[in-house]
């Protein structure tokens, strides 16, 4: 018997029963498509997180006022105002003698204010920060320039706008050197930041924020003396551990603390937070993957079921084939090739649907302004195709064996 004959016979049977074949492969289609989508979305989500890390800089340390336990969020993150972190602390951390690993330090205070330009009244959040912000946060300037140290010391009334703010206030107008009012105080716009398309961890707000000198914000807009938080940029990410320790020592020294249990600040490594989040997405991915696997198995059982019915429905055909010279193995092959073909076909359709779906998802997410690359791993496609064939073979074995052992005369007598 020629090698192609079982395929030829199976193909004829599949085409002859199109609808049944389609129902049979539906489970496989869904299973394979979901595996492809899950893998693609997982990859893209990981890429998104990596992009975040690159955006923030993986060598950042965050310093928040108030103590924190390792497992809970710091008090400041919950909106409780703690006043223990000051401008002096910032200077101390900046001092290379205290923390030699630190390249730069930025301090932050945050608030919301009424912004007025000409006759327009709007509300925006603002951040008072140091000139070092642009270096620490890896931010980029679109037009003009960022705040400088002189303006920080002089309590200058200058502002740098996030890209979305600039667009909302000025539209197509050039914002440079225009006067705006924040809570009735005049500010001169000196620069606009480049649009940053990543989300989460505070960077998304960069587009929606107005930046003013730290002390201007403290004195003029907020009337406070303390800092919201500080970020330290470490020279290299493998120095983060040492830098965290030196930061703690410096701050304890600043605050006259002897016992670490009395710490009135918390120092955190952002890369660790990112890692935690990618662990969470990994868990989610494996969870979804196992659902995909289950639907593949259910699809396989569906194939087995339909093949068993087919064996019964076609028992006369089996008898006839045997009568005209088919060996048991020929019959087994016929059914096995048939179920593998059905399953493979389902796999192919599933791959196509999965890829299309992933593409649509990436287009939608990109349209929402996130970095979400369309990524299909070559191996996920190969594995999905192979798995679908293997499922067809595994779940086709029992029906094929059953068919091959049908007695020809009983099969021919079967009504």
């Amino acid at each position: 018997m020629q090698i192609l004959n079982p395929i030829k016979i199976s193909y004829k049977n599949l085409v002859a029963a199109k609808f049944r074949s389609f129902l049979t492969i539906l489970g496989i289609i869904i299973g394979v498509a979901s595996v492809i989508i899950i893998m693609a979305v997982g990859l893209s989500a990981q890429e998104l997180i990596l992009d975040q890390i690159r955006g923030i800089g993986s060598n950042l340390i965050g310093v928040l006022p108030g103590a924190s336990s390792d497992d809970g969020p710091p008090a400041a993150a919950l909106g409780i105002s703690i006043t223990t972190l000051t401008y002096d602390d910032l200077q101390a951390m900046k001092d290379g003698k205290n923390i030699p690993e630190v390249e730069d330090v930025a301090g932050y205070v945050m608030g919301t204010g009424k912004v007025k330009y000409e006759e327009e009244d709007l509300s925006f959040s603002f951040t008072g920060t140091t000139a070092s912000y642009i270096n620490v946060e890896n931010a980029e300037i679109e037009t003009g320039r960022f705040l400088n140290e002189e303006e920080e010391i002089n309590l200058s009334r200058v502002a740098v706008l996030g890209s979305a703010v600039a667009e909302e206030i000025f539209g197509t107008e050039n914002p440079l050197n225009k006067k705006i009012k924040i809570d009735d105080n005049n500010f001169t716009v000196i620069g606009v930041l480049k649009n940053r398309s990543s989300a989460a961890f505070g960077t998304s707000s960069q587009n929606d924020t107005i930046y003013v000198p730290l002390r201007t914000a403290q004195n003029l807009l907020l009337g406070i003396n303390h800092l919201g938080f500080a970020r330290l940029k470490v020279r290299s990410s493998d120095l983060i551990g040492v830098a965290i320790e030196n930061t703690k020592i410096t701050l304890r020294d600043q605050h006259d603390i002897d016992d670490p249990a009395d710490d009135d600040f918390s120092v955190r490594d952002q890369a660790a937070a990112v890692e935690t989040i990618s662990n969470v997405t990994d868990v989610l991915r494996y969870f979804l993957l196992s659902i995909g696997t289950i639907s593949l198995i259910v699809g396989g059982v569906g194939i087995m079921n339909v093949m068993l019915i087919a064996v019964n429905q076609r028992i006369r055909e089996v008898g006839l084939r045997k009568a005209i010279g088919a060996r048991n193995l020929d019959i087994a092959w016929q059914f096995l090739v048939e179920s593998a073909t059905i399953s493979f076909l389902g796999g192919m359709i599933g791959i196509i649907i999965g890829v299309l779906f992933s593409f649509v998802i990436s287009e939608i997410v990109q349209a929402l302004g996130y970095t979400w690359p369309f990524l299909i791993s070559f191996w996920s496609v190969i594995v999905a195709a192979a798995v679908s064939i293997i499922i067809g073979i595994i779940f086709g074995m029992y029906p094929a064996r059953k068919a091959s052992q049908v007695s020809p005369m009983e099969a021919l007598r079967y009504e």
């Binding site: 018997m1 045997k322 009568a323 005209i324 010279g325 193995l329 005369m409 021919l412």
Partner: protein
């Protein structure tokens, strides 16, 4: 001395259906020479179909000897039996057993798909199929689907399928049972023609009229051969003549 094409000696077949034993064939002995046209006749339940299935390697005897071409079939493996059915034997069934939604050509092609002898083929498959269809006058329906045919046409295609591997022996199990008398006559005419061309034919039927188209009638009753006679006034099927 020439060896008979098939020879059975004291053949028994007992079915064991969940403890209930039924003896379908009990002690049958006869032989068939090449070129014969034998009708196995008997009422339903007489064991004639079982006998045919054993002779056609679709079933095995419980006891007794069956020699095919001088070889004891006891030693034949399942695969060897399948190959014999493919090359030496053709089957024609009462219910035609054509594959639905499949063309006439493809139905006749079926035995060739299970033909393992690829090397040394003297003619192409297409030629063989056309020749087989030609001998049953169905070449013009080659590309029709089997379910588009009338009963008589279906049976002629089934005969073509049995013929395509040019078998020595053709079994016809009630081939006219599902047909009107005109189509039945046509089938008998084809079978007689094939016999004249040298094919050995074993016809299973319960109708005397049909059986009289053979050259010899084996009458089976209760699993035994009740009589074995040469047909004295043999009927020759002609177009226009009606089967009873």
């Amino acid at each position: 001395m020439t060896v008979p094409l098939l020879q059975v000696k004291n053949l028994y077949k007992t079915y064991d259906n969940e403890g209930v034993k039924t003896q379908a064939v009990s002690g049958v002995s006869f032989s068939v020479e090449e070129g014969e046209f034998v009708a196995i006749m008997g009422p339903s339940g007489s064991g004639k179909s079982t006998l045919m299935q054993i002779l056609g390697f679709l079933d095995r005897p419980t006891e007794g000897e069956y020699l095919f071409d001088g070889n004891n079939t006891k030693d034949f493996s399942d695969d060897y039996s399948a190959d014999l059915r493919n090359k030496k034997i053709g089957f024609v069934f009462q219910t035609f057993n054509l594959l639905p939604r499949t063309t006439v050509f493809e139905n006749v092609e079926l035995p060739l798909l299970y033909d393992r002898k690829i090397i040394g083929r003297d003619r192409s498959n297409e030629e063989k199929i056309k020749e087989a269809l030609n001998s049953v006058m169905m070449e013009h329906r080659m590309n029709y689907f089997s379910n588009q045919l009338s009963g008589g046409e279906k049976q002629r295609v089934a005969i073509a399928r049995a013929l395509v591997n040019n078998p020595a022996l053709i079994f016809a199990d009630e081939p006219t049972g599902n047909l009107d008398s005109k189509s039945g006559t046509q089938i008998m005419k084809i079978l007689q023609k094939l016999n004249n061309e040298g094919h050995t034919i074993i016809l299973v039927t319960h109708e005397t009229f049909t059986a009289q188209h053979a050259k010899r009638i084996l009458y089976v009753k209760d699993g035994k051969i009740a009589s074995d006679e040469i047909v004295k006034e043999r009927r020759i099927a002609r177009d226009g003549e009606m089967l009873k």
